[in-house]
């Protein structure tokens, strides 16, 4: 008797709209007019001449000596060691960034204290600072004349610290806006249902942050792998110990080994492309969730 006495509300309820309606109303794109068509043509040509064609040249040059030539250049002992060091360290640094980045974003969004604005500036410094200056900066504290007595100059840990520095902003800046937009009532609902603060964070907040964390982590990894300038003065570029992939590529260039340089560069390019695709996918998931 009970259940059937409650008829379901009318089936005429409209299906929920999937996308958040835009404030300005209407994001309808139009077809190209002649003016925008010209604009597109010129822009694409400029972009090709500056970016696409040169990057393509890297791949083409790298494969000039065929698959065996490519493979030899990449698996050369010193180069392989450099690649291992680069990828391995970038991976470790990314893991640290996932934790610290989320933590920093949390404190920036949920906490308020004197000097918070200064922290925001500090976080952006690695993004805007010239990389060679970053090397010098780290050297001041963690080098031979550093006041704390730690000296990482010319040691493998220098690579770790340098990567940590230059990748600092990435996870923070992808997570921060998502965290700021979170519906606080959802957390209240979780608490009213009996969940502790930690459980609420784990089951309700964190899942919504995962796409943003993943996007930031991917960018952080790519940035780390690509790094060059900060290591020039800090790591000593010691073969098999502190030499990273970008340094190997530069050596090849300076030795006029264009093919070898291009081959290794192609590896880095592949990583960059994978990163771009991943971030694109993740950003779309982020938008859809809204």
């Amino acid at each position: 008797m009970a259940v059937t006495a409650l008829p379901p509300p009318a089936a005429t309820e409209p299906e929920a709209r999937r996308r958040r309606p835009r404030r300005g109303g209407g994001g309808r794109e139009s077809q190209l007019t002649w003016a925008s068509g010209v604009g597109l043509g010129v822009s694409v040509m400029w972009f090709s001449l500056l970016v696409l064609i040169p990057l393509a040249a890297v791949v083409v040059t790298g494969s000039k000596e065929g698959w065996s030539g490519f493979w030899n250049a990449v698996t050369q002992e010193q180069t392989l060691a450099a690649i291992r060091l680069t990828v391995g360290t970038a991976f470790l640094v990314t893991i640290v960034n996932v934790f610290m980045g989320t933590l920093i974003a949390w404190v920036l969004v949920r906490d308020d204290f004197f000097g918070k604005r200064a922290l925001e500036v500090l976080i952006d410094v690695p993004f805007a600072l010239p990389t060679v200056v970053a090397g010098l900066v780290l050297l001041s504290l963690y080098g031979p004349q550093g006041p704390v007595g730690i000296n990482i100059a010319n040691k493998p840990s220098a690579v770790f610290v340098a990567y940590l520095f230059v990748t600092l902003p990435f996870v923070v800046r992808t997570v921060q806006p998502v965290l700021a937009e979170l519906d606080r009532e959802v957390e209240e609902a979780s608490r009213s249902l009996g969940a502790s603060s930690f459980t609420t964070f784990r089951r309700v907040v964190l899942p919504s942050l995962i796409p943003a964390i993943a996007a930031g982590a991917t960018l952080s990894f790519a940035r780390g792998v690509s790094e060059y300038g900060s290591l020039v003065l800090l790591s000593g570029n010691i073969p098999f110990q502190t030499e990273v992939t970008s340094v190997r590529i530069l050596s090849s260039i300076e030795n006029n080994n264009a093919v070898g340089a291009a081959a290794v560069a192609t590896i880095l390019l592949v990583i960059s492309l994978v990163v771009i695709v991943l971030v694109d996918i993740l950003q779309r998931r982020l938008v859809r969730r809204g």
Binding site: S36, A265, S272, D280
Partner: protein, 297 residues
Amino acid sequence: MADVLVDDRPTPAVPPRAAPPRRPSARQLERRSRVVRYALRIVVVVYLIMLVGWPLSLVAQRALGNGLDDIKELFADPQMMHAFKLTLFAALISVAINTVFGITISILLVRYEFPGKRLLNAFVDLPLAVSPIVVGLSLVLVYNSRSGWFGPALEGAGFRVMYAFPAIVMATTFVALPLVIREVVPVLQEVGTDQEQAARSLGANAFQRFRRITLPSIKWAVIYGMVLTLARSLGEFGAVKVVSGNVLGVTRTATLAVEEKYLNFDKPGAYATAFLLALVSVACIIVVSLLRPKDQG
């Protein structure tokens, strides 16, 4: 089915008459969460100071160790002045190019539909993920005057690109390419087409709409993008190193000067130059941070 809905069972989930002492009270929970909050805050502050804050201040200390003498020496050196001017010019041109093309591409990506749009959207982000050495290499491969794809042809027409100023401009423009676009695109999406459509209905043509409606609505985004582009362009090192040939007095930029001075045991000079570059970068960040309204990250 009916009886499960009428709640006549003893309610096991209801707490007993007197709240059991082991259940933390609201005050206790609040205190606990305050401790957690302070702990997190301290961890974050210490991390940021140890990684960024303290090292940065040490550079300032070293650079200003002899007062302003080290810095004044830089300005007295004609080759350093050339390096500064070179860096500045290249950066300004990069800002100009990236602003014009950045705005154009942003509008195309947000307001128009065309084949390959999604590809362009993704590729625009490439420069952020590519290593500067790879950037330099790619430009050399195409534009060097001996074996490059276009280099010899350009050389024949009288344009020396590689190992000269144009190459520096190209490398600088390449690395900073996405910055204006990433600032403008979200704003364009947020603002929507309503105003532009209203303007069209009132008789405005495309150029008028662009100048009077679109441009003002993205004004601040463009400014942020330009400042970030400036900082990035002034600071480029790896790509410039590859394409410039690092010829003293001709193609040596300020960042290259830092490396060279340090390796030639001119530490005061290196620190002074580094300090100036850091000063400009931090100034750029602070300017953007001050200009941005507080609620945007």
